[in-house]
């Protein structure tokens, strides 16, 4: 990790993924939020990351074909 006093934005950047994954310690979380409160530049980038995750989750949805669904049902083992 970078030293927060050297470059607070670079330090904030490193905390972004764990922050959004909710795996920062309480102290780190507060530190990130404190910086975000006063840094619009970082805040915009956090917001973008959060929307990107939602977006990726949404756009990769491709429904399964009905033909495949039928094939799967046909794989069931018949009752004797």
């Amino acid at each position: 990790m970078t030293n927060p006093t050297d470059d607070p934005c670079a330090h904030c950047e490193e905390m972004m993924q764990p922050y959004l994954d909710h795996i920062l310690t309480e102290a780190e979380r507060l530190e990130a939020e404190h910086h975000l409160d006063e840094c619009d530049w970082c805040r915009r980038r956090y917001k973008f990351e959060a929307s990107l995750r939602v977006y990726v989750h949404q756009v990769v949805t491709e429904p399964m074909s009905a033909a495949l669904k039928q094939k799967l049902s046909a794989l069931r083992i018949p009752l004797n």
């Binding site: 977006y55 989750h57 429904p63 799967l72 009752l79």
Partner: protein, 202 residues
């Protein structure tokens, strides 16, 4: 009825009950597994190198699951159980020879993609819409360019909504490895996205 016949019935009866109970369990298993097929396909689609291969893989997975349903413990995560079969089949199919090259992937810092998107027109009037500069094709092809070890982690956690724990179980790797691959994988993905945006712009 002779006493010998009664004795014989008493012996066969529990067996018949057991068989009927097992048939009921199996039917229930098959129905629960089929109800998850859409979700399994959604993840398989991006673990496999192509849509056709994803379809084959899902079929093979269900064929195997229906055969070995007794090894599933009721009450545990069936979706994770199915995905573990699928992941193993995918590896067996030799996906390691396919697509994503095993060179060290390019990775940029976490803010890199945003900076590129914001730069492409110099300013960002509507913050909430920056992400919409990426098309569905951009995302799908960038994802497929991420080497499989990293992609597996992203696909399971960020697309399949599996916990780190479940992803670790499915991929048979330690949980810390899932977390580091996920972290690096997202950076690689963003780097790929940034490259595709810059290509579009040029």
């Amino acid at each position: 009825m002779s006493s010998a016949n009664v004795a014989a019935m008493a012996e066969t009866q529990p067996d018949a009950t057991r068989i009927a109970a097992e048939a009921r369990d199996r039917v229930r298993f098959e129905e629960e597994a089929l109800a998850l097929a859409d979700q399994v396909f959604r993840v398989a689609r991006h673990l496999a190198p192509s849509k056709d291969e994803a379809e084959d893989l899902v079929q093979e997975t269900y064929a195997r699951a229906f055969r070995s349903w007794r090894s599933y413990t009721p009450g545990t995560n069936l979706r994770a159980w199915l995905l573990r079969i699928l992941t193993n089949l995918n590896i067996d199919r030799g996906r390691r020879n396919q697509r994503a090259p095993q060179t060290t992937p390019l990775e940029a810092n976490d803010y890199y993609l945003y900076d590129k998107l914001a730069d492409s027109d110099g300013r960002t009037p509507d913050e909430d819409r920056v992400v919409e500069r990426l098309s569905q094709d951009d995302i799908v092809s960038a994802l497929s360019a991420v080497p499989h070890d990293f992609r597996d982690a992203i696909v399971l956690v960020d697309i399949g909504d599996f916990s780190y724990q479940d992803a670790a179980h499915i991929l048979d790797i330690p949980i810390g490895t899932v977390m580091s691959r996920l972290h690096r994988g997202r950076r690689i993905l963003k780097r790929e996205l940034a490259d595709s945006v810059m290509e579009d712009a040029s």
